[in-house]
Symmetry: C2
Subunit: 432 residues, 2 copies
Amino acid sequence: MRPLKVAVLGCGSVGSQVVRLLTEQAGDLAARVGAPVELAGVAVRRLDAPREVDVPQALLTTDALALARRDDVDVVVEVIGGIEPARSLILAALESGASVVTANKALLAEDGATLFEAAEKAGRDLYYEAAVAGAIPILRPLRESLAGDRVTKVMGIVNGTTNYILDKMDTHGSGFDEALAEAQELGYAEADPTADVEGFDAAAKAAILASLAFHSRVTANDVHREGISDVTAADVASAKAMGSVVKLLAIAELRAVPGGDEAVSARVHPVMIPRSHPLASVREAFNAVFVESEAAGELMFYGRGAGGAPTASAVLGDLVTVARNRIQDTTGAGESAYADRQVLPMGETITRYHVSLDVADKAGVLAAVATAFAEHDVSIQTVRQEGRDADAQLVVVSHQATDAQLAATVEVLRGMDIVRDVTSVMRVEGEL
Amino acid sequence: MRPLKVAVLGCGSVGSQVVRLLTEQAGDLAARVGAPVELAGVAVRRLDAPREVDVPQALLTTDALALARRDDVDVVVEVIGGIEPARSLILAALESGASVVTANKALLAEDGATLFEAAEKAGRDLYYEAAVAGAIPILRPLRESLAGDRVTKVMGIVNGTTNYILDKMDTHGSGFDEALAEAQELGYAEADPTADVEGFDAAAKAAILASLAFHSRVTANDVHREGISDVTAADVASAKAMGSVVKLLAIAELRAVPGGDEAVSARVHPVMIPRSHPLASVREAFNAVFVESEAAGELMFYGRGAGGAPTASAVLGDLVTVARNRIQDTTGAGESAYADRQVLPMGETITRYHVSLDVADKAGVLAAVATAFAEHDVSIQTVRQEGRDADAQLVVVSHQATDAQLAATVEVLRGMDIVRDVTSVMRVEGEL
């Protein structure tokens, strides 16, 4: 059997682990693929840069495009990241007849359709398990294991940096800035943490999860996005008092809309979930994805969402499948967007709010607050009154309503004389 | 595109849900497979038996063999269970050119090799995700997602009945008999609970997990099996005192053996694990499988391990893959047993013990017990002495040793004058 040739584009923390595994596991890979798997070349920015792995000089090149186009290459692994040149390289590889494995969430979430169409046209595979939740097998289960079921909701802790920060805020009572500084010191957060803490990274993953779960095209732009930089120690303390914890969740959900249709809600924002929820116990920088499906019920997938070796594990898993397909001269299932569902604006998304208010301690406060909710057709699940005098607090948990109704209610509360301060507003998932 | 025809053998709780989903999700299945999926027939024991689902009379037959052999059938779903006639039916289906999806753990664990060889010879698929942990996608992740990685250990709560019983013993302090009776009342345990409580069901699943994880043939007979009927309220209380919980685990592990080789340890027995371990929080009848892999690190898969609809979800996921393969005239990866690793006898398996002893409260007791461990080359991690006089207790947690060394140590302890009773012996996983 002729060897399958693999080109790796990028040799950073993921690429170098891909190269290491390709070399160290060569025997096992050959047995599992059914043919030897050979490293054809590694595209790097600088030939003399220090690397985590030894690559024979003869395999290194700075000409990524030429490597992606080499006609003896069967599979191209793209682990450069970002939009360009990654997109051009993937398109060139597919056009030249290679299958592609990528970990590029940003590109898939922004312009997946272009890539999928190119793969379809070329009759080649485009696999991307590593793009969401690193080592955790979640895309393949959604694409294949649950292909005979009806997924109704996906909720994921898909960003380790923000989970680490929120976990520290929860366990140590620290504020956001302090927890971020600690995460940066330990290498869990980057010097410019925007992509993580503002939810851009999670939004890209939410788009990919929503697309797969609901067989529709959802891009990062369709995803409502709120980060965690506004989450305060008071929010976390409020959650604690409710037996809950604050997590940044990527949520993709199927929602009935008038006319009997179903639309997709795709969003990333901080959420208060009860500590009994399986996602609540996901600590530190771990990731987990919780799936609700009609027949399967509740499922959860847990593991390391980032890091060179875990991400490389996912890349290699795809590589084995794609290589097997090349040998059999076939391809796996391509893009599945037949359901073509609309994406709901955030305002029309059904959710629930937890609101904490500093209020004047006088008769009629509760009635006034309750009226504000009622006037927006939002019904209240529980109200708890705490403290007295200058410390009087009202904690309200609403029943389900549209996000627009809930947001409008909070706006009215903010303007009320008897409300001294709205100390915490947080969406709620699960039964508090 | 001509429709793909599916025969379902068995119409019990799983079969009827398979039929329901095939009917209700017909539109989605057609879109996901790429061709309509049609129910060709359902084999039942009695035509007039009451069923959870309406099947058109014309599709029912009591001649399962004729249905499995029908040459217009593309995929046969076997959900009868047990060894025979299931094996003959699956072999007949493969010989007749159908691909097979089965949920039959007992058959796969006893005689998987015969089935895999028949599938290979016929050039057809044999898929069986539903055989282990019901709805939880675990076999596909092991077969495919982790195919480029090196799995070193799999630990699973793969039997809901025993997890329910142990969970009740832990939360309510009840004894085994009481918890079993409650499980039977609620339908979590059968009238004859042997297959579950004695670990036969879990052992079959351990064999399947070990085979896939380590690319070797492991049968149910190779799996060391201990059930939970000897787990006492004292064991559970002992675990609690250590911040631990008792779970029945199916464990498949790679172990270095002299000569540089690696062997497989496959076993089912009660285990004490710390409450901080992800498996410890798996409650009620839920299942979960914990995987340790060299590059991916720790992964966990959680969900419903039994029940008609969850199991049917796994069957349908396989059905979609197998049907797609039929259309593309290809097959997925078949059996992978190239590594051909030996299975270690339990005595040679490295493990750790937790031992509680009622002892005479006199000078020299601790020294005598410590000597018993030392004489078997077992080193002690911690000893805790509790109570005084008639209530004196010694709790010992060992370091790693072979199971034979540990068992021999316990035998000696049982014979010692100063040991009034060995109240609890339990293997340990994770850092207590």
